[in-house]
Amino acid sequence: MSACGKTLAALLLLLALIINAGDGHTTASAKADLKRIQFQIVTVETRGGQRHVLSNATVEGPPGTDFQINLESERFKMDARFLTDLVNNDALQVRAKLQTRRLYGRSANDLPLYEEDAQSHTLRLSFEEAIILLPFGRAGDDRFSIEITPALTNQPAYLATGEVTPPAIQIDDRQLRGVISIQAQAAPHEYDAQVSLLRDGREVARGNARLMREEAGEVVLRPLDPTSAELTDRPLAVNLTLAPFAQDCAADRLKVSFDLYRVGKPGADQRAMIATDWQGVARAGADLRYDLSNDAAGLAAGKLELKFNLKPADR
């Protein structure tokens, strides 16, 4: 290589290093620029056009902070869960899951009868908007509402060390003490799931998917050996749902629920179910295995295992 060529190669190398460093700086800078988000949660009684604030709370945390509002009285119970995501730094996507239970009456034997309801909504709102939750609907002159107003703060979401700042809650519930409670947590919403089929410990098929927490997603396992007809014609697939294992457990524990089936042949939309509503608890990054030897009918003999590996998605 000539001196000119060496110089050119060195320049190219230097340029690549500068670009890489710039990218890293950009990522770190983007993280450093992220601000904490505050949700003001106000419960209001409106009577005759007059607003009367019953409680006032703030939940503050990094983007992706989730919170839960619980109402519980003698006859009525509501669990409202809000999974929030910052979109383009100027809007929020909020997945709201509402569960209510109302004491409907009592039976002839004086046993309680309940009316239960579950709703899921995905809301998109700017920081100029608020979420209005009416636990009892709109009927009546005396209305109870929960207003959730998001705001970007000036507080950084990440510490200088790169660690995420924890959520914080402040609540003034003097009038609703014992009736309202609020919880918050910051846990990943998206996971990269890798599902593998092992035969005698050797991986023979694999599928990958990015899954949103608490939303079912299909992962189709493609054979690593394309000549494997049994897995090519009717590949295995998993309908997978991930959810927090429990509110009070480590955030890296996930409840895994899945159906396992063989996908129908092209043109035929029939699934051959192998397992329905299997469940387990996985630790993020660690393998979770299921023995399929007695269940995967139609597959060649051998010790068959299904392996899950779930990791929080890089954002």
Binding site: E45, R51, L54, L71, S73, E74, R75, F76, M78, A96, L98, T100, R102, L103, Y104, G105, R106, S107, A108, N109, D110, L113, D117, Q119, H121, L123, R124, L125, E128, E129, A130, I131, I132, L133, L134, P135, F136, G137, R138, A139, G140, D142, R143, F144, E147, T149, Q175, L176, R177, G178, V179
Partner: protein, 151 residues
């Protein structure tokens, strides 16, 4: 003093011994003072028994007669009742009325749950009462401009 033939003396007096044995015993009794005394006692007792005048006890006789004539005990399940026809008719009528009143309850299906309105008194007095907002409607959620929300 005793003699082992004394017992036979009673049989001899009753004429229950064979002739030769009776003859031998007679010779013995003549020579044996014990048996001779026993023979004298037996004969005296016989005379006294024969001389006893029997006076029947009427009460005892009636009791004995009643005992003899008493019918054999009949088990409860084999006894018979004799009821006058009007009484029997009343009993049948009462049974019919009872069956008419009870049978529908026995064959009736369990009634469905009866909803009873909630008793306001059941509501806790310690907490803020949310029930006044509850008109049985479904929860609702939506977004609104911030100004409208705070109105």
């Amino acid at each position: 003093m005793s003699c082992n033939l004394t017992e036979k003396v009673s049989l001899w007096i009753d004429g229950e011994l064979a002739a030769d044995e009776a003859e031998r015993l007679a010779q013995h009794v003549a020579a044996c003072p014990v048996c001779s005394s026993a023979r004298a006692d037996f004969l005296r007792l016989r005379r006294q028994v024969k001389a006893y005048e029997f006076t029947p006890d009427l009460e005892a006789r009636q009791r004995a007669l009643a005992q003899i004539l008493k019918p054999a005990p009949v088990p409860l399940w084999r006894r018979r009742l004799a009821v006058p026809v009007p009484v029997f008719a009343v009993i049948v009528l009462m049974i019919a009325v009872a069956v008419w009143a009870i049978f529908p309850r026995l064959v009736a299906k369990p009634s469905p749950a009866v909803l009873q309105p909630n008793d306001p008194a059941r509501a806790s007095q310690n907490h803020f009462d949310l029930s006044r907002f509850d008109h049985g409607e479904r929860a609702e959620i939506y977004t609104a401009p911030r100004q409208a929300a705070t109105r």
